[in-house]
Symmetry: C2
Subunit: 351 residues, 2 copies
């Protein structure tokens, strides 16, 4: 879809009438694609984090709708409409926080409303591919916009994985880092390892190694110590849902970083397509935060690290208030010091 040398990784591929997902649970040690051809398996792959990252979940769900409709049409012919809602519900129940999931299902539902007679698969597949391609294009555009905010010789710190693996391709926050690096603006890139799932150590590091972008991993707790030393000028993160006032839900640890960034005078950039913005919610308190299994904290790579008899708290996301955000970068433009009025203006613009 793109010949950019910084855009070779695809976590999601549609080929041979089948959806292939790169199993992100096995990275960086094993690169294995899983073929999916029924909607329950697609939903389970999202729940189990075979694929993760808000935009990637959205793209996967779009293809999941194609798979669901194709299967219903094969089984029930023109009556497929009657039973499709339960499949869409199954997809929507896979994870609660990333609004891109619901956005993609809604977009596919709209495409269903204007279908020609007969097999709906081809038209819906075209729509899902459009969702995928538009996400990649949005990421490249956001990459340029975000890089434009960064001064030469800047140090940046990112959290979680927001690259090709978390999106249709190229990445949101990591797309900005790719673009800024290519423009020669970055003196160093730091990545939080991002416990408990280690998206930084396993996924972000793997992507940047493939791009030959030097990256230094750190324990999540080291961030304030790093900022105090003055080597970091921007914290750059993605988002799973942005509320109508600019409050940002993202991977647990993001809010901890935002508090530290403000304390140290480090700027804080959120990079997300407008499919991540949920204007239905007036503020971040209304964003549902997924609590994932305790086992993700108590173990690591299947290896138990904590003693028996201990419990763990494992919220997968936190909410950073808009007041701590310096810029939200979307494919429609940049919102500086976001608030409700600016978010409404962004969303009503032609983009």
């Amino acid at each position: 879809m793109n010949t950019d040398s910084y855009d070779n990784i695809r976590a999601i591929e549609w080929r041979d009438d089948c959806l292939y997902l790169l199993d992100q649970r096995l990275l960086p040690h094993t690169e294995k694609y899983i073929a999916l051809s029924d909607v329950v398996a697609v939903a389970k792959a999202i729940t189990d984090m075979v694929v993760r990252g808000a935009p990637a979940i959205g793209v996967t769900a779009a293809y999941g709708v194609v798979i669901a409709v194709r299967s219903r049409y094969q089984q029930e012919g023109d009556n497929w409409h009657a039973s499709i809602e339960q499949d869409l519900h199954c997809l929507a129940a896979s994870r609660p926080t990333a609004v891109n999931l619901f956005w993609a299902i809604d977009r596919m539902r709209k495409a269903m409303e204007t279908l020609p007679e007969g097999d709906p698969t081809a038209v819906l597949l075209t729509e899902a591919i459009a969702v995928h391609k538009e996400d990649i294009a949005a990421n490249h555009h956001m990459g340029e916009l975000g890089a434009g905010l960064i001064s030469p010789s800047s140090g940046v710190l990112t959290h979680c994985n927001t690259g090709s693996l978390a999106t249709g391709g190229y990445g949101t926050a990591l797309g900005v880092i790719r673009s800024a690096y290519r423009a020669g603006k970055l003196s160093c890139v730091y990545a939080d390892e991002t416990r408990p799932w280690l998206q930084g150590a396993r996924l972000t590091a793997w992507e940047l190694v493939q791009d030959n972008i030097p990256v230094t991993l750190q324990a999540d707790g080291a961030a304030s110590h790093l900022m105090k030393q003055g080597g970091v000028h921007w914290v750059i993160v993605g988002s799973d849902r942005i509320a109508g006032n600019g409050d940002v839900a993202n991977k647990i640890g993001t809010y901890h970083l935002a508090v530290a960034a403000r304390y140290h005078g480090v700027k804080f950039m959120v990079v997300a397509p407008t499919s991540t913005i949920d204007m239905q919610l007036s503020c971040g308190d209304e964003i549902p935060i997924e609590n994932r299994p305790q086992e993700e904290v108590l173990s690591l790579g299947g290896q138990r690290i904590a003693p028996a008899g201990v419990s763990a708290w494992n919220p997968s996301f936190d909410v950073t208030p808009a007041a701590l955000v310096d810029a939200i970068v979307t494919e429609k433009g940049v919102v500086h010091s976001p608030n409700a009025a600016k978010m409404r203006e962004l969303m009503s613009s032609a983009g």
Copy 2:
């Protein structure tokens, strides 16, 4: 040494003329003591973190001096003085940040100055046992003092391990949590897992399970999210070295917590014996911060988590400025809102 039901764990034991260390690298899965009878092995055990925690390193070093002198006396008779300095240097070079190491060696060196004729082992062993017993007594006293600062129904969050494993016994910050729990003051105890070495998940959790004190583990990045929800009233930590102005070096991630605590109006308590206070240093910038091997971040329990080609930054400690500390609890008393004048007053008091 103490019959307290909350004080049954001993990381350091002297028996049968030998030093036994509980190998903390293997906890919580395996409880194995290592017997040490030469000083190079004692220094290596400190470097390799068989034993860790500033007060425990101090106690271990005191016994290490006994082992060194005994060996030199056996080999060289009354000429043992001539060669002992190289052993003390070997011990002192084992780790750079915890000042208790140098404090203990200095105290043992003073005991060497007034030895009677003949075999010095018994007198020096008595001194090392005194160092050990005094540390335990200090911890119990600090436990009471620190618990006295905590209001009923408080939630607390701790970082790293500061319990019996990190000290002669009972613990510093974890001693305060033990005392406050026994006094019925705690509504909940949260522990950071404390990457990269997982002292919280592996050691603090293990100690609290044995004491039947309920504890909830969390990823280090979750701290601000927890504080925002209002369930935590005190962050309670230990220290590896406190400068003369009250700046506090402690496990990496502590400063990140202190910044977050101040932002959320959560109080911040440091618990450390006066052997941790280094009045030679005017501020925290002068404290040497150990950088440990990258491998501790890139791997976990011998299992590689990051891809090849990635580097990691692994500072073992950070420095929290005195301005972010609400109270330093020592065996000589509590210093509120520490500064240089208050620290001098504390150290010159009879205590």
